[in-house]
Symmetry: C2
Subunit: 190 residues, 2 copies
Amino acid sequence: MKTRDIGRSAVRDELARTAFPLFCDRGFDEVTFEELATVAGVSRSTFLRYFGSKEEVVLFSFDPLGAQMVEALLDRPAHEKDRTALRHALSPATGFLNRDPAEGLALLRLIGRTPALCARLREKQAGWRPGLARALAERPGARPGPDLRRQVLAGTALECLTVSLEHWASSEGDIDLDGLINDSFSALSD
Amino acid sequence: MKTRDIGRSAVRDELARTAFPLFCDRGFDEVTFEELATVAGVSRSTFLRYFGSKEEVVLFSFDPLGAQMVEALLDRPAHEKDRTALRHALSPATGFLNRDPAEGLALLRLIGRTPALCARLREKQAGWRPGLARALAERPGARPGPDLRRQVLAGTALECLTVSLEHWASSEGDIDLDGLINDSFSALSD
DNA sequence: CCCTAGTTGATACTGAGTGTCAAAGTCGAG
DNA sequence: CTCGACTTTGACACTCAGTATCAACTAGGG
């Protein structure tokens, strides 16, 4: 039954793809499911079945990043300090947006000017913190320590990501995103 | 026209106060505006006029914290390092929850098990970051530097607050909250 | 006392999100 | 190829959040 799931996520991608320009043009709140469905050529019911909420239509593409960052963190060499490893572990996120910078910027702009999307993305990000913290405890050569410390380290890394993305978006992508990440982490240790 | 505004916020407090136990008992999503209004003895229209959304009924009490933390930060002595000043600037938030620990814990629990409230609170917190960053630039004896650094410092301070509150809530308030804040900041510099 | 401005509750409306159902489509087994 | 099980789809009905409007009411200032 794998073909079902493949088809399902392909349809998801396609629906989101047709929805994106509408959101960008007219604003997230001004577009209804009815219109999204009409443009995509399906019924409102079907569209709603693929996304639990309107926010998900925009934000579901961020979902894999949590697991990808955990994997990236676990792949860092044992001798690397936690903070450095975390900095490198953000690469799935920067890569996701840098793959197609124009679309990445449009996405961040849309999110930035839509409070509901800001809130939901922050919620998603907050959901990544526990996983990263656990990965910190499980990485090769991890020294035991309080959970609080790992949560703080993971949380600050994600906050560096957020701040960097904000500056990247407001520079229209002119500044190198990975450079901003490095600068953000530098600000942590001075 | 000051009496109007005083009366207005007094009514707000009272409405929120009557609503809180309902949310705690039956869950945020299971309570409708209709019920809130009935219990409070006003019409649905009136209740809705005092709060822009259902989330605000629970979260509006956090609103003053942003300005209070900025004020607290500006009051810190000039010789204090930015990070230390930020740590102390969180005291309005810890004080707000420690004033009545039982209610503070109930509030955090309610938020913790309601995704919509999590998201909105995170949004509010994110809104405090720019103010704190600006205050960092304006504090007595501030050395000029890139905005990115100040945003990161303010963001990490707020993340320390979030993580500390999370641990405080999951310990049922047994662990000292200000101690957790200190420990969180310690994790930043090692 | 009256006039004005703000408050209230009633009503109606849009749109998100849920649930149900029958019809149509898909896939594997015989 | 055909049958039967399972899935997907679209239609419909429903609840509730949130917005807007309006007439009745109320409080404060002159």
